[in-house]
Symmetry: C2
Subunit: 466 residues, 2 copies
């Protein structure tokens, strides 16, 4: 395999790109470079050689063609909220910032879809939709760009009801390494027309091409939203409750597990007085009758497994307060160790193994002498351990790494995955190679066929071959 | 591009395969060959040179390796219910019959998933699940194999609520052309781990490899099922009703449109006395309270657009009777022209264009002097025109072809697709090339990377290149 060493963008390349976009949209300023590589991550990342602010698909195409001709890496950038180092430039190259491509191109109320440029963020799209009665449900926490979310196969708290990015994409515009522009999918709600290129680029993390436009499904804003919390004696009880809710086909919109460590941290950080116990945070969407029906049925299930009395809220302000411990989880746990950074794990397992995996993780946190809580998108079997680390404490970083490895090994051993929603980036490459061992040659065959010079986001997702 | 001419399986190849599976599982009997190529289709199809009855993934792997070494085509076969000629062998080769690979390997009630061999049919799986409280919802009509359904990205009447095959796959075991075996996906409900190979093979119609095992999501059998029919003055009114139902987020499980031509044919065929008018056939799943809520809301919406009084049913027998006109549609329309065969179109369009497209199709049926009805998975914008043709009447076949071409052109012009659920096969290759024009080189690049000798189901899906 070629091209696994540094390939700096030469002045010639920068000039050729400046000739396309204008010199004022090509930056080699060190703080701009730094800003474009850091992400929301514990990784130490290397910046690109230059950042180019693209404004059209045609510009992205021209930039890709120039870089490909010179074998210079291209690193797509949306909002820089990657958790696994997707914004790094380990082999140098050009960071293509798509944040100025932020037009909502088309919204159809009847068809409940929207076409946006890749730099549109999810909050921007939802603001734009305000008067339509529709919303875009994928909520990974950060206000990520829709292009980045598609590239990472992102999801978040609403996925248990509304699916992940892969389920909400109808079509993409993608710039390939050679600069050609491909339109995948379409606007039909379903299709059996040829290879599913939309799903191939979704989750490829920019290693096969740069997504410049995205057509997404929208959903009707529910007539009523009800929120609730319920404390449980044990993690097992909380998980058992969720399994029963899902088995009964109750269309719960959100169901998040927050462990007692996190509740304690949140009580302190957000000045709350929640019971310090494993707690489910829930949200129900639907008609008033449907929400009431869901509430009744979930209450009965929770009672059966010894859950506490429910706290309820249905107006937005009260709902926000009720969910505050969940919303503030990240900052609350970091506040336990001032100056620390977060290392967030992301395993996802079959739900029958969820309680075991969480309990094992909690034991392992203690064994490795770490400060960490657990929050989880428990309806999908996906949970995060948020570990507070001092990046300068090498021993602590090593212990966090060992903890994460154990977590991943356990997840893989029960048929789960090292990443439910954060992606592979630079941080999980060895785990992908473990988890999808017999598929690695096939992934490389696809990569090589589409990107023979390995210019598209090299050093991400796939382990260096052979 | 090589290998686009006939490549017959030589006696040497047949002997090598017989040495793996035993001579009694290799057949060159002409009626066996004929049976394995006909499908449920109007196409004239060429049979393979031999049919091999495989029983394990290892056997499929060995067969693929032998065929690849000799550049002999491999045509996977499940139940032979392909509509678009997926079972044909236009370049000769070996048909690999997977129907004996029909073990349900694993079912998990807690995780609501099942792993099956590719030859398990959807009805067989649902029988197997009878005592679990779970079911597999994808219902394309025919009792297709799960492997075939995955390969075709099949869906059917339940897709509006439960999604299509792509949404219900967790993982696959696939034999690649060179005989290597790849496991894609896993058992986690969601994953961001590397390229989505599961979705790549789903809908590839056996042109990239042979699916031998499938892990699918299951769903809880709803506590209550309610069925209904409602007649409308016009197609537009019926579609407007469906749009409103979907916009309101009512989780309708099935909503099928049957036009007045079909109702008339069904009245005669099934001795019914339904009002001869465009009619919606609906089904609602959920708790008793939820089903009642859905019924109330849909009734109100239908009244608003001038729908008739609803006919209701909730016990299975009565539901079947109510839906009989929909269930018998295929045979009822064929009975209008005894001795005819069906040519079923499959366009899928954004729902805002559905009424227009259906009305244009109905005019076009008259203009081309055809006998055809329309039934549709209207919640997804997918509709079928079932055309009765005499395969020996060349002029009629040509008129049907012209009609279908117009239908497809119109669908593509509004952002839709030539195939919502039947696949491309041999029948829709030129339409795929029209619809996904700029993606064809990319599809070929993937095909060539994975199947360089073009042995996997050649002559399907992709147009002959360049």
């Amino acid at each position: 395999m070629r091209n696994v060493t540094k390939r700096r963008a030469s002045p010639e390349v920068l000039e050729a790109i400046a000739a396309i976009v204008g010199g004022d949209r090509v930056s080699t300023n060190s703080s701009v470079l730094e800003h474009h590589c850091k992400g929301e991550t514990y990784h130490d990342l290397e910046p690109a050689d230059a950042v180019v602010f693209a404004e059209t698909t045609e510009e992205v195409s021209a930039i890709a063609r120039i870089c490909n001709n010179h074998s210079v890496p291209v690193i797509p950038f949306g909002t820089g909220t990657s958790v696994e180092g997707g914004t790094a430039a380990p082999f140098g190259g050009i960071c293509v910032d798509l944040s100025r491509m932020n037009d909502v191109l088309h919204v159809s109320r009847e068809d409940m879809d929207a076409k946006v440029q890749a730099g549109v963020t999810r909050k921007q799209l939802n603001s734009h939709l305000r008067d339509t009665g529709l919303f875009f449900p994928i909520d990974p926490g950060a206000d990520a760009s829709i292009g980045g979310m598609a590239s990472t196969r992102a999801s978040g708290t609403n996925a248990v009801r509304y699916g992940t990015m892969k389920d909400n994409l109808l079509g993409l515009t993608v710039v390939l390494p050679n600069g050609s522009v491909v339109h995948t999918g379409g606007r039909a709600k379903k299709s059996s027309a040829g290879y599913d290129l939309t799903r191939l680029f979704c989750g490829a993390e920019g290693t096969l091409g740069i997504i410049t436009e995205v057509t997404v499904r929208l959903h009707g804003i529910p007539e009523k939203v009800g929120a609730a919390t319920c404390a449980f004696r044990t993690i097992e009880d909380a998980v058992e409750c969720v399994i029963a809710v899902i088995q009964h086909g109750i269309p719960i919109a959100r169901v998040e597990l927050v462990d007692e460590v996190q509740i304690k941290a949140s009580n302190s950080f957000s000045k709350l007085s929640m019971t310090v116990a494993p707690t489910l945070f829930m949200e129900f969407h639907g008609s008033p009758a449907s929400v009431n029906d869901q509430i009744e049925r979930v209450t009965a299930i929770a009672e059966d497994v010894g859950g506490s009395k429910f706290e309820w809220a249905d107006d937005p302000e009260h709902r926000d307060r009720l969910w505050q411990a969940r919303h503030d989880a990240y900052y609350a746990i970091l506040a336990l160790k001032p100056g620390s950074r977060a290392w967030t794990t992301d395993t996802c397992v079959p739900i029958s193994h969820l309680a075991d995996c969480i309990l094992a993780a909690k034991k392992s946190v203690i064994a490795h002498d770490l400060t960490a809580s657990i929050v989880g998108h428990v309806g999908d079997g996906n949970f995060h351990s948020i570990i507070c680390i001092d990046p300068n404490d090498r021993d602590e970083v090593a212990r966090a790494r060992a903890f994460n490895s154990e977590l991943v090994e356990r997840a893989i051993s029960v048929g789960g995955t090292c990443t439910g929603e954060h992606g592979i980036g630079v941080g999980k490459i060895p785990y992908l190679a473990r988890e999808q061992a017999d598929a690695m040659p096939l992934m490389w065959a696809i990569k090589t066929a589409i990107d023979p010079k390995n210019v598209m986001n090299p050093g991400k997702v796939l382990p260096m071959p052979f």
